[in-house]
Symmetry: C2
Subunit: 236 residues, 2 copies
Amino acid sequence: MARDIQERIKKLIIDQRLPSGASLPTEPELMERLGVSRNSVREALKALQAMGIVEIRHGFGTYVGPMSMAPMIEGLTFRTVAGHYRGEDSLLQLLELREAVETGLIARLAGRIPAADLAELDALVDQMDTEAAANDGRIGQPGAVHTETDRAFHATLYRCLRNPLLGEVLEAFWDAFHKVRTDLVDVPHDPRVTCRQHREILDAVRSGDVLRAERAIREHFGNIRTRLSAPVSTGN
Amino acid sequence: MARDIQERIKKLIIDQRLPSGASLPTEPELMERLGVSRNSVREALKALQAMGIVEIRHGFGTYVGPMSMAPMIEGLTFRTVAGHYRGEDSLLQLLELREAVETGLIARLAGRIPAADLAELDALVDQMDTEAAANDGRIGQPGAVHTETDRAFHATLYRCLRNPLLGEVLEAFWDAFHKVRTDLVDVPHDPRVTCRQHREILDAVRSGDVLRAERAIREHFGNIRTRLSAPVSTGN
DNA sequence: TAGCTCAGTTGGTTAGAGCAGCTGACTCTT
DNA sequence: AAGAGTCAGCTGCTCTAACCAACTGAGCTA
């Protein structure tokens, strides 16, 4: 029955063509319209909220959710963490998933990226260099590429494919991977290598050489993979 | 606070290394352990259930969920349907996502599929031929390839990559796409073309010719795309 | 021994009350 | 008259308590 309530609320959104952010009926209204108790309404809304279909704001109202990939990130993250603690190579599988998808995509955008995007990517790699060079006061130690910069690079790279869904899915995979990695294994590494690899990906894509671009991506992921498997994970 | 309860239950699963199917504390037990009312416990469990982290069986108990991609399918399906009704080309985006991923993957398995899998794929294509030839009593009309056969073909194709996560994600995309397509647009088409294209994909992969395999996949998806965009969608 | 019944456990649903966050109009001060 | 503070009201949040419904398993009956 709880399932049924969820479906009816979803149907409400579909039938009325409600866009993201549109306000939904209040809990008492839903009680009456669906003929169920408040508790059941709330449980259904909680489930829909967990799926990103609905957004609840305390003291304000219930709204149609952003329908982002956020729930997928959370689910994927939990699944990966749980698998990791059970001794599976779930984190490696997640990385391979990203590698497979990005390797496939890089081929179709090599040589086809607009100049504006290329400029933006150049700026991002420059910023990585700056961040890698900064030592934050530690003598003789290089800095670290900021997480956000790496994320922005990968997001910008695939933007020109003009497929928002694709972009969101890639970002979701990226998010889940980084969330798990920072939680479980944090391996020190040389950020300058990361910079060089990003620069090579960018140059390869700019040149339009598909094979070179694929090789660059594979090398980049190979680097991450090495850092993953080298150390024994820090248990909790 | 509801959020907090969810996190604590997730932590319980992680900390105790509970595998899928393991039983969780009963609702009264969780009430006591977490110090909250039954109502709050239930709302948290509902949300976790929606994410596939937990599985609830009436009159039996609560268990650690299968952590499958099922919730992702549901979210993706809803998102696509809602987008479609709002006039976006969400279904096309979903198809492009599948095409991008599968095109990338086909390159890395061309010529590397075990003989056993090839035999299985041969059998599946044969079955498609049979299904396409069957006319179910309609004179002069070819039959239709069963949905399950097509699904099995795509699943078997990527199985040898030995990455369960990858397989599940691909199946999730496939599921979401087919669910939406059958709900929204059902275009009549010649199933024999579909058979021929699957056969070509299989032969290309067997031959180890990467470019041919990519072309075959692209052609297959191009065929689906044509059938998508040709008709005006059937509204509701 | 095979099948049934029934009590106990577990989740499902309802009801009613009070708490907490936000908004907007009203009032008081300047 | 303009601004800031206050309060009433709406909203969702949490709790308690009771009963319903599904399933299990022990015990009884044939």
